[in-house]
């Protein structure tokens, strides 16, 4: 397992944001966490990323328990898990060029400098559908889709074992959403990282996920293979969630992805 979360609890004061979650993600798998805002999805993600420490329970990333290591080791462990945020422009330092943005993590992994580093950056950017023309641009000069590709390049430059996708497409235009989703699917096929997909967009989940966990009030109320969950939801809340899709849509859900690149 790339990620094993056991009995995870995270409290903020009196609020139990995450209240006893168990889940695990296998190499190459896409695990989707769905739920409304405030259900604890993001807190779960931040625990997995090692940005905050759990109140109790354990998060084991690639065999290392984040609760049992020093903050120095935790800092290095973070490199095995990367994240792509919802808003691509907010997730890129506005003062850095695209080249510097991607080179920053790339140099951590490869130790290259100068021309060699630039080549590696360009190779990764090209894999994601960007080119040398973008190197000297600043994030605000890019479209949402391009910026999200850069964010993806930045996250993948470290070759993480697990990539957390926090609503990766919900800030993008519908036409661009499909492109990014297909890109994510391709990258995974290509010996890429496992995905922990955090989303309330069930169409996105259906498109990518192998397994789905439904979060409600800080707990995982249902967990099932994606097919099974969409066809035969077991929990009441899951049914409500599925029925809340506009157009009453378990049947119509694929339509929102109708635009293919």
């Amino acid at each position: 397992m790339i990620l094993s979360v056991t009995g995870l609890v995270k409290t903020f004061g009196a609020v139990r944001a995450v209240d006893g979650v168990d889940l695990s993600v296998a190499p190459g798998e896409t695990y989707a966490v769905v739920g409304e805002s405030g259900s604890g999805k993001t807190t779960l993600a931040r625990c997995v990323l090692g940005l905050i420490r759990p109140s109790s329970g354990s998060v084991v990333v690639d065999g290392a328990d984040t609760a049992k290591i020093s903050s120095g080791e935790l800092r290095l462990l973070r490199r095995r898990v990367q994240i792509v945020f919802q808003n691509p422009h907010a997730s890129l330092n506005p003062r850095m060029t695209i080249e510097r943005l991607v080179a920053e993590p790339m140099r951590i992994r490869t130790g290259s400098k100068g021309a060699a580093l630039r080549e590696e950056v360009v190779a990764d950017l090209e894999r994601l559908g960007l080119g040398t023309a973008h190197l000297s641009r600043y994030p605000h000069e890019l479209s949402g889709g391009q910026a999200q590709r850069v964010a993806l390049a930045r996250a993948l430059a470290l070759r993480p074992r697990l990539l957390v996708l926090d609503e990766p497409t919900s800030a993008l235009d519908v036409s661009v959403q499909a492109q990014i989703l297909n890109l994510l699917a391709d990258l995974r096929a290509d010996d890429g990282p496992a995905y922990l997909l955090i989303s309330h967009d069930l169409a996105v989940v259906r498109h990518l996920a192998d397994r789905v966990g439904v979060m409600y009030g800080g707990r995982l109320v249902e967990e099932a293979p994606a097919e099974q969950l969409f066809d035969a939801p077991a929990h009441d809340y899951t049914r409500q969630l599925l029925d809340s899709v506009p157009g009453r849509g378990r049947a119509s859900m694929d339509l929102s992805l109708g635009v293919q690149p």
Binding site: G50, R75, N93, E104
Partner: protein, 291 residues
């Protein structure tokens, strides 16, 4: 992106509006440029360079403004225009040094306080608050009376009362930047805090710091002049504007030019830096910060 100049409809009006809007900026830039040039080329520009540097000329005491002495002469017979020209040097040097040092002290402390938070933040900011609790000039007067009056002690005193403003400014910026996704992203790269602060936080604070520093050069210039005026700053025969105002004070009703011209020099310098600061704020503000 949002700030495209309105050219399309009424060209004349657009130009006029832009001129009006840019007028103060141009004036500020011109005043500051003039000050810098005067300071740099003082020996060439001053009609009586040796008097500007301090040499007395007893025969020409207390002369009213004339063609030879545009701004008149002081009680020691020194040409006031030359003194003002030479006075640009300490004025500029001290105020830039003070602001530079205040930035050097305040910015790192504010960065650490804002980014790290917790007890370190409390400790740094409470110390800063202690300094901020006193009126800056009063605090500077206390420090000078401890160190002894001189131009450079006045400068040190002003740094002591100015650094907390930068600490507070940068702390606020760092605090809001810390929560931004790109900083969280930098943390997931496993970067050290110091690297994140230097590479991701600081560059995004640079515009507000620059704006504040520019405006503060004017304010500090005035404060240094005030200290000199009450005898706690530059000492004679330094050609300091504040000192000159003080020296002319006794004769202000009979020999108005002795105080009036150095006072005007201070006024114009402060005005220049303030206008330049405002212009920079307008020019740098959109998009870069606080989005």
């Amino acid at each position: 992106m949002s700030k495209t100049p309105p050219i399309a409809t009424l060209p004349e009006r657009g130009v006029y509006r832009r001129l009006l809007r840019d007028g103060p900026a141009v004036l500020g830039f011109a005043l500051v440029a003039l000050l810098v040039l005067v300071a740099a080329f003082a020996p060439l520009l001053a009609p009586f360079p040796e008097q500007g540097a301090g040499a007395a000329s007893v025969a020409d005491r207390n002369l009213a403004p004339s063609l030879t002495h545009w701004f008149g002469t002081d009680a020691m017979g020194r040409d006031i225009l030359s003194r003002i020209v030479y006075g640009a040097r300490p004025a500029l040097l001290v105020s830039m040094a003070v602001v530079g040092l205040a930035v050097l002290v305040g910015v790192p402390l504010g960065l650490i306080a804002g980014f790290r938070g917790g007890r370190l933040d409390e400790a740094i900011m409470r110390v800063a608050d202690m300094f901020l609790a006193f009126p800056p000039l009063l605090l500077a007067m206390v420090v000078v009376s401890l160190l002894g009056p001189s131009l450079w002690n006045a400068a040190i005193a002003l740094v002591v009362s100015w650094w907390p403003w930068y600490a507070r400014l940068v702390r606020g910026l760092a605090l809001s930047l810390r929560e931004r996704p790109f900083v969280e992203g930098a943390r997931t790269l496993g970067l050290r805090d110091i690297t994140i602060m230097r590479r991701h936080i600081l560059p995004n604070c640079s515009s507000p710091i620059l704006v504040q520093a520019t405006t503060d050069i004017g304010t500090v210039l005035l404060a240094a002049g005030s200290l000199a005026f009450i005898g706690l700053g530059a000492q004679p025969p330094t050609p300091d504007w504040g000192l000159m105002v003080a020296e002319g004070r006794t004769y202000v009703f009979s020999h108005w030019w002795m105080s009036a011209f150095p006072g005007a020099a201070i006024f114009l310098a402060v005005l220049g830096f303030n206008l330049l600061g405002d212009a920079l704020r307008d020019a740098l503000d959109p998009r870069e910060v606080g989005r």
